[in-house]
């Protein structure tokens, strides 16, 4: 790891600062209770914040950074679950539920 003890993002320009803020909110701190790395003061969270900042400075895209985190830590690290076979029902639940409840509405209504 690099020899910097703190993480300040003031070297990032406005656009990168926004990307940095939204990325760290989407990444879960793996050693905490349910907290994102933005919120946590755990060492791992600090390391991850630094890593994300460095990758932004290296010109990596959001997708590249997320892929890096996924490969390294697994699906658990991202608060937005990927659309895969096992999250199929999760992602389609808004449509399924609305149709189901609409059917129910029609049934009660008539």
């Amino acid at each position: 790891m690099f020899f910097t003890s703190g993480i300040s993002a003031n070297e990032l320009d406005t656009n990168d600062q926004m990307r940095y803020q939204s990325l760290i909110q989407e990444v879960r701190c793996l050693v905490c209770q349910n907290q994102s790395v933005a919120e946590s003061n755990a060492e791992l969270a600090k390391d991850l914040r630094r890593e994300i900042k460095l990758q932004i400075q290296d010109g990596k895209s959001d997708i590249e950074i997320k892929t890096y985190l996924l490969d390294r830590y697994g699906e658990f690290i991202l608060y937005e679950p990927a659309f895969t076979q096992k999250t199929f029902f999760l992602w389609f639940s808004p449509i399924i539920l609305l149709l189901m409840f609409y059917g129910w509405f029609r049934k009660i209504g008539n």
């Binding site: 803020q21 349910n34 907290q35 608060y79 679950p81």
Partner: protein
């Protein structure tokens, strides 16, 4: 001696709960004289026993009696006295005692409900069901979670209260939330009691005020929790879709639906079955919430003192109460009164909105338990967090907000004529006003504009009865609960939309006399030092905030380390007015006299909490009005 006395009164409460339950089933078998007097007395006796129990446990806390395991685990001598009171419900055992105490208070209040006395069967059965619920929880307390358990050898010092809980908002947050959760047992008991006895729509009239009261507490409890998370968790977020937050949001959605469905059941004798199901679901979700918080099956920042075995017990109680209620429903529920609904009539639109609210609760439920299910099926660990919920909740909420405003203009039993003509000036007004927002704050996205538009639409349609009555408060009094409820919701949606779209979050490093700029505001660090609190050591900073060179305010964010814990606590420095919040929290020392700081500018953030307050005022007026009309009709 005091803990043993507490133990005795706990058993006495258990016995009265048992008799309260039996008193209700006995008339089903054979008529007993004076059964009402009997059940009223045991109800009162149970409440008194639990009040004494609670007072005795509080006494043990105030006396620092560390021979009581629960006191030793949740308090110590250095704890400020105010927090010793709060520590009574700071852990698992005490919060369960609070749970049954609140249940018994609700039960006592229900037994004093004058209007309900005209339906003795309904009344006795619902008190009996409440007695059974209380019995279940009292067995649970005595069997797994006794707050009066002794500890030997007696330690000289207690472990202390979780620092996160040492905060004024957290003193009133749990009782408020619990009052809401537990209060939903009242409409539940009335609904099931109705199925068992008279089996008609009568219960709706009685359940309305109770539902509104519990809904008010639930609203207040959730808002308080959000406010607390904002200033205490140190990161300035106000909603994280954490499992424990979700656990309180689900019953809120259903209680909101129930409140509206009961209007139709009372006024039009329609949807009796639907209202019954909502009443059962609302309380079941309260129990599910208690289970999620207490069992620790889900990882959450809010879960204090959890234990899987105790979780299992609550799950059994949940299965028993919801299962039997649903069984009774499926056997007893008569077919709905047949009536063809007009699609734009008020009853039809209320039903539609209630269905959207159910869908919202369903989505939150799926998102909350999905990772749990995948893990049980050995399909790996995933996280479902804010990006997911913020997206899916739009599906039911956008149509819901559209139709709320239309429902205000609809009529009972038939399609309203000239509906389009009536709403078009308001739509126009909402569009014009919403265009001001990009002018003030700049363009963000189409979704932002839609959010602002829907919020203004909800507010303006909420205000409309007042306009129609030439701004006479007296004439619009009967509409006041609806007006305040809808205006409050609109304000909250406006706050959420504007703050999420135009808020600025910024991390920066600051040294003495250095400043950082967020939006138009300049934060200047002038001093950093240490101070001693009653049971903690704090690192504080002095920050001067100014705008365009003009001084606004000085704030003092802190980072505390409590004696009883190694974890650092953040106390943010906040400068707030109606239009914006300025927030600064101390991060870590990065050497060379510099500190990392977390800064925020959040426009209209306060509306997220003022909205719920306005909504609660609407509920309060409704309860007050209903008491007055009942009084005058007698």
């Amino acid at each position: 001696m005091i803990p043993e006395l507490g133990q005795i009164f706990l058993v006495a409460a258990l016995a009265s709960a048992l008799f309260q339950f039996l008193g209700g089933i006995s008339p089903l078998l054979n008529k007993i004289e004076n059964i009402e007097t009997f059940i009223d007395r045991v109800t009162t006796f149970q409440t008194i026993s639990l009040v004494i129990c609670f007072a005795l446990l509080t006494t043990s806390f105030l006396q620092d009696d560390f021979s009581v395991l629960y006191v030793a685990s949740n308090s110590n001598t250095a704890l400020p006295i105010g927090y010793k009171f709060a520590a009574v419900w700071g852990g698992h055992e005490g919060s369960l005692l609070l749970w049954v105490l609140i249940l018994s208070l609700w039960t006592l209040l229900l037994s004093k409900d004058k209007a309900l006395k005209s339906s003795p069967d309904l009344r006795i059965q619902s008190l009996s069901i409440l007695g059974l619920i209380s019995l279940g929880f009292l067995i649970f307390i005595l069997y797994t979670s006794n707050p009066f358990e002794r500890l030997f050898p007696i330690p000289l010092q207690g472990r202390g209260l979780n620092p996160l809980l040492q905060d004024p908002a957290l003193v009133i947050h749990p009782p408020t939330l619990y009052a809401g959760y537990v209060g939903l047992a009242v409409p539940f008991s009335l609904a099931v009691s109705s199925l068992l006895t008279v089996n008609n729509h009568q219960w709706a009239k009685h359940a309305r005020s109770w539902t509104i009261l519990s809904w008010m507490f639930l609203t207040g409890g959730i808002a308080l929790g959000s406010w607390w998370a904002y200033y205490e968790l140190g990161w300035g977020g106000w909603w994280f879709w954490d499992p424990v937050e979700n656990a309180s949001l689900m019953p809120w959605f259903i209680a909101t639906a129930l409140m509206h469905s009961l209007i139709v059941t009372e006024k039009r004798e329609l949807f009796n079955g639907f209202s019954t199901l909502l009443a059962i679901t609302a309380f079941s979700l309260s129990l599910l919430g208690t289970f999620l918080v207490r069992s620790g099956v889900l990882i959450s920042v809010h879960s204090f003192a959890s234990d899987p075995q105790r979780g299992l017990f609550i799950l059994v109680l949940l299965a028993f109460f919801s299962g039997s209620a649903l069984m009774i429903y499926s056997v007893k529920q008569k077919k709905n009164k047949q009536e063809k609904l007009h699609p734009l009539s008020r009853e039809s639109l209320l039903l539609l909105n209630n269905v959207f609210l159910c869908a919202s609760a369903g989505l939150v439920l799926i998102g909350t338990i999905y990772p749990l299910i995948l893990e049980m099926l050995d399909l790996g660990k995933i996280s479902v967090g804010p990006p997911y919920f913020n997206f899916v909740i739009l599906f039911p909420f956008i149509p819901l907000l559209i139709s709320i405003g239309v429902a205000v203009f609809s009529n009972w039993s038939h399609d309203s004529k000239n509906l389009i003509k009536k709403v078009s000036p308001i739509i126009l007004g909402a569009i014009v006003l919403s265009l001001l927002f990009p002018l003030i704050y700049g363009w963000a996205s189409l979704l932002t504009l839609v959010g602002v538009l829907l919020a203004l639409w909800t507010i303006l349609t909420g205000v409309s009865p007042l306009i129609k009555n030439q701004f006479s408060i007296n004439k619009s009094m009967t509409y006041m609960p609806m007006m305040l409820g809808h205006i409050g919701l609109g304000l909250m949606i406006l706050g959420i939309t504007v703050t999420s779209s135009y808020g600025i979050t910024f991390d920066d490093s600051m040294g003495i006399e250095q400043s950082s700029t967020v939006g138009d505001y300049e934060f200047r660090l002038t001093e950093i030092g240490k101070r001693n609190g009653p049971n903690y050591l704090a690192q504080y900073a002095t920050i001067e905030i100014s705008k365009d060179g003009e001084y606004i305010e000085t704030v003092y964010p802190e980072k505390r380390v409590y004696d009883s814990s190694t974890m650092g606590m953040t106390e943010a420095g906040i400068e707030a007015n109606l239009f914006r919040d300025l927030f600064i929290a101390i991060g870590e020392d990065i050497g060379g006299g510099s500190w990392s700081m977390h800064l925020q500018y959040k426009p209209l953030l306060r509306l997220i909490w003022y909205g719920p307050i306005v909504m609660m005022m609407g509920g309060l007026i409704r309860v007050f009005l209903s008491k007055r009309t009942i009084g005058s009709s007698q």
